[in-house]
Amino acid sequence: MRITFDFLAILAQWPMLLKGVAWTLGLTAISAVIGVVVGVACAWARSDGPTWLRWVVGVYVELIRNTPFIVQLFFIFFGLPAAGFRLSPEAASVIAMVVNLGAYATEIIRAGLEATPRGQIEAALSLALNRMQIFLRVVLPPALRKVWPSLVSQIIIVMLGSAVCGQISTEELSYAANLIQSRNFRAFEAFIIATAIYLALSIALRRLLNWAGARFLF
């Protein structure tokens, strides 16, 4: 090997890395919360809503699931201004992540809703609950619990996917790593450290969400 590693050259820039981690986590947190809400709403629309709404949601879900995230991001940031929507890079990143997670969450949650035993709904009906009460109090909580692991995985995929948000100057973790390496050319060190941080983040996030799901959601 002819190059020598100097990880300290990267770690010396820890404030930048820390800021990157904070952004990555912040983006993920906001988009996870809103994305899951979007997913619930769309899943409801797809299984219970009026036909036109089902169709609209169907188109949304298919469009998002069949194109890469980075293309969606570029569209929102570079394309929407042409239609008069001007967004900061951070806002564009959050919107892209919400839109992306929302589409996947819709499908995941819908699967959970469909797995609801018929008897649960009948029991709720025979207790005189109305449609909304049945959905929110009887059908949704067990469905969410059932699909929670898949949702957590998808949230982590979205977090890892946020690495491309740096390309529109959102200062998340991969942006920080890239900025550091483009200054001192220590690309390996920067990427290895970033990869390790991502791994730690996804392990920690999965733990946290699994714990929080069991503790607060159900």
Partner: protein
């Protein structure tokens, strides 16, 4: 220490070049790279008497190409600074590179101080970025993008008010988008481009330096600059 021998033995040189940086490196309708850097790469290969393999690279991965010997040279609008010199070696400069600030006529920007409170896009990790970071007042909203493409696109989409990039890139952009009324504001830095060589590959570096010196003398370098940049190289550091 063997790069030059390997090149001469295999009769092939691998050179990393940009594709996102008109007029230094960009693609034609056939997606074949062209531009000043590409011509320079071909020129060096011809002088060495070997075939050339062009490797399109990005800002992020051009140095690893060199470090892992996937490329022998990097000719990719590479600026020099002391940090970078710890990792790779540089030859003499081969082309000029003026970094300037651009904005629509409606915005008044006379010097760095006027950038305060305005947003500006720049390519992350480029010399442009480093210079701008040095001179821009703290109140400037600095937006660093992944590559030159995103930098210019963000400006054209109106996501930022001003743009810092190479004079030539801006020229191409202004020609395509006259409606924006973009104009030159002030020069940020005159930062010529160097060729990157693997750390310690002194023989290869020396050889390339000889070729550059010769090209300077023969006027080939100026000819290239006139063809792609519209003017001669001017003074270049060694």
């Amino acid at each position: 220490q063997t790069a030059l021998d390997d090149i001469l033995k295999s009769k092939e040189i691998k050179i990393a070049i940009p594709t996102d940086f008109p007029p230094y490196g960009f693609v034609g309708t056939d997606l074949k790279p062209q531009g000043l850097d590409i011509e320079m790469a071909n020129y060096i290969a011809a002088k060495l008497g070997v075939k050339v393999e062009l490797l399109p690279v990005t800002t992020a991965n051009r140095i690893p190409y060199l470090q892992t010997k996937k490329a022998d040279l990097v000719i990719s609008t590479l600026g020099k600074n002391p940090d970078r010199e710890k990792v790779i070696d540089f030859t003499a400069a081969y082309s000029p590179f003026f970094i300037a600030v651009f904005a629509p006529k409606s915005i008044t920007v006379k010097g760095p101080a006027d950038l305060a409170g305005k947003s500006i896009s720049v390519t992350r990790g480029s010399v442009d970025d480093m210079e701008l970071t040095k001179v821009a007042p703290p109140a400037t909203e600095l937006r660093r993008f992944e590559d030159n493409n995103a930098t210019v696109s963000a400006y054209m989409a109106g996501q930022v008010q001003t743009l810092a990039t190479s004079a030539q890139v801006a020229g191409a952009m202004m020609a395509k988008n006259p409606a924006m009324g973009t104009e030159f504001k002030f020069v940020l830095k005159d930062s010529p481009n160097f060729i990157g060589v693997g750390k310690g590959e002194d023989k290869l570096r020396q050889k390339v330096n000889d070729i550059i010196a010769e090209a300077k003398k023969s006027g080939d370098l100026d000819k290239m600059a006139v063809k792609w940049l519209g003017r001669p190289t001017g003074e270049l550091p060694n």
